[in-house]
Amino acid sequence: MTLLSAAADVKKPHIDIAADTIFQLGFFKVTNSMLMGVLGYAIVLAAFFYTVWCLKHGRKNHFVSVMTWGYETLYQKVEGIIGDKKLARKIAPLPIALFFTILANYWIGILPFVGSVSTMGSHPLPIYRGLLADMNTTFALAIISMVTAQIYAARALGFWGNVGRYIVNPFRDPIGSFVGLLEIVSELSRMLALSLRLFGNVFAGEVLLIMVGFLTSYAAGVALLPFMLFELFIGFIQSYVFFMLTTVFISLGLVSHGDPPEKHLSEHQTPSGS
């Protein structure tokens, strides 16, 4: 009885798919993921502004070198995928911002106080939760990514040209019509896959850390270390995957069915018409 009751008394970690509302400002709910989100965005902004400031004043250190190297590498990757310098310069900010935002938020979600510091009371809620462990965020990022891809596709192919990728007269071209339907499903599945993949990884990582911490109790300091390092690696991979997929989806939108990519790239190198 004593053993069972003792086991029952142990506070089990709180795991919820949805982010928890910590407090409310009027009708606006402030969730635990938002607190970490503010920190994550602040880190991204601070890192970039510090880098630019250092470059402006001719100061160089390892951090600035890593940031500029990262930016340059990602930019070149975008340029390589898009294949046009002018267009790449317009498109690159979104995937690069996505990469750094996801990386920063993923990594600060691994900090020890995330998930472990809870509110008082009979139903304690974690005060801090990773921004990306909130599906609203991953969905928001995926929607922005896919909408941007559509905007660039519409600019490159024209509005009706872009619509023509999805809607084809079934009496004139039944196969094309079916392909168009598949394209619509493909676009939706891409968006879902983007958001759910990221959310799944972040959420699973947080749960893993919480459970390892819970199970190892006082040895958590040592036991968590390899898992945290692993999560840092996964965070980098997930950021890069999101970055790459966003870039590839945008580049796919620049080419219509049946035309070789070179034709459209040469015709629509600058969608703004310049």
């Binding site: 709910k29 880098t51 630019v52 500029t68 969905f139």
Partner: protein, 180 residues
């Protein structure tokens, strides 16, 4: 137990899948706005400066590559010039050497010719002189022979012969000598 499960099932049934996943349209919109705001700030104030840095670096690399290509081109040109000059110098040297050889041969030929001419002149002069000397010797010998013959004849016949006899005697003596 059963009422608890029933109430849970009812609660789950009332919630849509979006609610289960914690998707709230307000929060979704807020996250989109927050990220777009971040993107705007980065695109407006940060990325242009980083792009300028990249352009500057790219330009510097392009300039360096161009300078290296120019330097290589100049080096190749200088190498070609040097080779051309060396070739010209070798050709000039060969020409000078050839003309020197020709001149030397001509000089040698001329010297040989002059030497030959001089030698021929000396030989000819020597021959002439020798012939003169021989002729002189012959005359002297003849004169002396005549004198001796006259003297011998005087002694043999013991009288002075006339010019006519004398001349006949001389002639016959001379003939006799010639025959001998």
């Amino acid at each position: 137990m059963i009422p608890a499960v029933t109430s849970l099932a009812a609660e789950v049934a009332q919630k849509t899948i979006l609610e289960e996943l914690g998707i709230d349209w307000q929060l979704l919109l807020l996250q989109m706005v927050a990220f777009l705001l971040l993107l705007f700030v980065l695109t407006k104030f940060v990325f242009p400066k980083l792009n300028a840095m990249l352009d500057k670096r790219e330009q510097a690399i392009a300039d360096s590559l161009k300078a290296a290509a120019d330097a290589e081109k100049n080096a190749l040109k200088a190498q070609a010039d040097i080779e051309q000059m060396l070739k010209g110098a070798r050709r000039d040297a060969d020409e000078i050497l050839a003309s020197a050889k020709v001149e030397a041969n001509a000089m040698i030929d001329q010297a040989e010719k002059r030497s030959q001419e001089r030698a021929d002149q000396i030989i000819a002069a020597a021959e002439v002189e020798l012939q003169n000397e021989v002729a002189k010797a012959r005359v002297a010998l003849q004169q002396e022979t005549l004198t001796l013959v006259a003297a011998a004849t005087e002694k043999v016949i013991g009288s002075v012969v006339t010019d006519k006899v004398d001349e006949q005697l001389i002639r016959s003596a001379v003939e006799g000598i010639k025959i001998a």
